[in-house]
C-alpha cells in the first residue's frame, strides 16, 4: 500500500552488528545502567511516615460547607445526586424550623445527607453541580475500612468544623498550621 502521508519514517531496525551478536557488550551496558541506579536518589514516598502533598484540586473525600456564621450551605436541591454517575448520594430535604436560622443558611436543608464512599468514583461532578457552594471534595483520600457500613458517610462526617465553635479545627482543616 502506498504511503498515506509524507510524514512517515521507518524505525531503526538494522541487523545486529558483530558486537551485538556477542550478547556480552549490551548485557554489560545494561548492567552498568542498573548499577548506576544504585546511587540514584530513590523517589519513594515512604507512605505512612512520609506523605506527598496532593494538588489543591485533588478529588478526595467530600466535605459539606458552612458559611462564615457556621450555617450549613446545603439546601438539599439534589443536583449533586442527579449529577452523580455512581448514584452514591442520598439526601432527604427538610424545612427549616423557627429558631434554626443559626444552623441552616436557607429555608430548606438536608435532614439526611449520605454519601456511599464505596460507590463513589470521586469524579468531582457533584462539586461542579452544586449551585449553593455546599459540597466540595477535599484533599483527604478515603480510608479503607473493614465493613461496608464504614463507608456510609453521613452529614456529621462530611460537615466542615464550625467557624464559631471550633475555629482551631477549621484552621486545621484548612491546612493552616497554628
Amino acid at each position: 500500500m502506498q504511503a498515506l502521508t509524507h510524514k512517515s519514517f521507518a524505525v531503526n531496525r538494522k541487523p545486529m552488528t558483530f558486537w551485538e551478536r556477542l550478547y556480552l557488550i549490551n548485557i554489560i551496558k545494561g548492567m552498568l545502567i542498573t548499577f548506576s541506579h544504585m546511587f540514584k536518589k530513590q523517589p519513594t514516598v515512604r507512605y505512612p511516615e512520609q506523605k506527598r502533598e496532593f494538588s489543591p484540586v485533588f478529588r478526595g473525600l467530600h466535605v459539606l460547607n458552612r458559611d462564615e456564621q457556621g450555617r450549613e450551605n446545603c439546601t438539599a436541591c439534589g443536583l449533586c445526586a442527579v449529577a452523580c454517575p455512581a448514584e452514591a448520594i442520598t439526601m432527604e430535604a427538610a424545612e427549616r424550623q423557627e429558631g434554626e436560622e443559626h444552623l441552616y443558611k436557607e429555608e430548606k436543608y438536608a435532614a439526611k445527607y449520605e454519601i456511599n464512599m464505596l460507590r463513589c468514583i470521586f469524579c468531582g461532578l457533584c462539586e461542579e453541580a452544586c449551585p449553593k457552594d455546599a459540597i466540595y471534595l477535599s484533599e483527604t483520600f478515603a480510608p479503607a475500612n473493614y465493613t461496608r457500613k464504614g463507608f456510609i458517610y453521613d452529614k456529621n462526617d462530611l460537615l466542615i468544623p464550625n467557624t464559631l465553635t471550633n475555629a482551631t479545627a477549621l484552621a486545621k482543616a484548612k491546612g493552616v498550621e497554628a
Binding site: 519513594t44 514516598v45 505512612p48 464505596l118 460507590r119 480510608p143 479503607a144 461496608r148
Partner: protein, 195 residues
C-alpha cells in the same frame, strides 16, 4: 474555591467489626499465655510477609502497578513477591470490576488459596460495583467470597491502597492462630457455600 483542604473526620476503621475478628462468646476460655504469645509472634511474622495475589482486572490494577513501583513500593511491607499462583499467596487483592462471567473464576481462585488467606477489595467496582450498576457486573465481590478490607476510590490512589494494606496487616497481626479452625470461621465460610 474549596473552603477547606481536608476532611477531618475520615471514618476510623473498627477492627473488631471485621468479619474475621469478633469477640469470643462468653464462657469460652481464652487461649493460654503461651498460645497468646505464639499467636502474636506468628501474627507479626504473617503481617510482614503477606504475599499478594493481584487479581487485577482493570483500572485499579494499574494503580496497583504504581503501588508496586518505585514511587510507593509495597515491598517495604515485605510483600513484593507478587504471585499469580493462588497456592502461594496469602492476600487476594481483587482490583477492578468483577463481571458475572468472572465471578466463578474469582471464587475458584479463592478456594485454591491456602489458609490463612485474606481478601482485600480494592476500588469501587470490586467493593460495590461502583458506577457499573449494570446487568453484567457483580455488585461487590462480597457476594461470592468474604472480604476483609474494602478500599474505596475509583481507582484508589497508591496511598489508599497502602492504607488498605496496612489495615489488613493490623487484622493479620491480631488474628489468633486458632481462628481458622474455629466454629465461627466455618460458619462464615458456610454462609458463602464454601466447605
Amino acid at each position: 474555591m474549596r473552603p477547606v483542604r481536608f476532611n477531618l473526620n475520615p471514618k476510623e476503621a473498627e477492627i473488631s467489626e471485621a468479619i474475621s475478628m469478633g469477640k469470643a462468646p462468653d464462657g469460652v476460655p481464652g487461649d493460654g499465655f503461651f498460645a497468646t504469645q505464639l499467636s502474636s509472634v506468628v501474627g507479626l511474622a504473617r503481617k510482614n510477609s503477606l504475599w499478594p495475589l493481584p487479581f487485577a482486572t482493570s483500572c485499579c490494577g494499574i494503580e496497583f502497578m504504581a503501588t508496586m513501583a518505585s514511587h510507593y513500593d509495597l515491598s517495604r511491607f515485605g510483600s513484593e513477591r507478587v504471585g499469580f499462583s493462588p497456592r502461594q499467596c496469602d492476600l487476594l487483592m481483587v482490583m477492578g470490576t468483577i463481571a458475572k462471567k468472572m465471578a466463578p473464576v474469582l471464587r475458584q481462585v479463592y478456594l485454591q488459596m491456602a489458609e490463612p488467606r485474606w481478601v482485600i477489595a480494592v476500588g469501587a467496582c470490586a467493593s460495590s460495583g461502583g458506577i457499573f450498576d449494570t446487568y453484567s457486573v457483580l455488585q461487590g465481590i462480597d457476594q461470592v467470597i468474604p472480604v476483609d478490607v474494602y478500599v474505596p476510590g475509583c481507582p484508589p490512589r497508591p496511598e489508599a491502597i497502602i492504607d488498605g494494606f496496612m489495615k489488613i496487616q493490623d487484622l493479620v497481626g491480631q488474628e489468633s492462630i486458632r481462628r481458622r479452625n474455629s466454629e465461627k470461621y466455618r460458619d462464615l465460610l458456610n454462609s458463602y457455600g464454601i466447605q
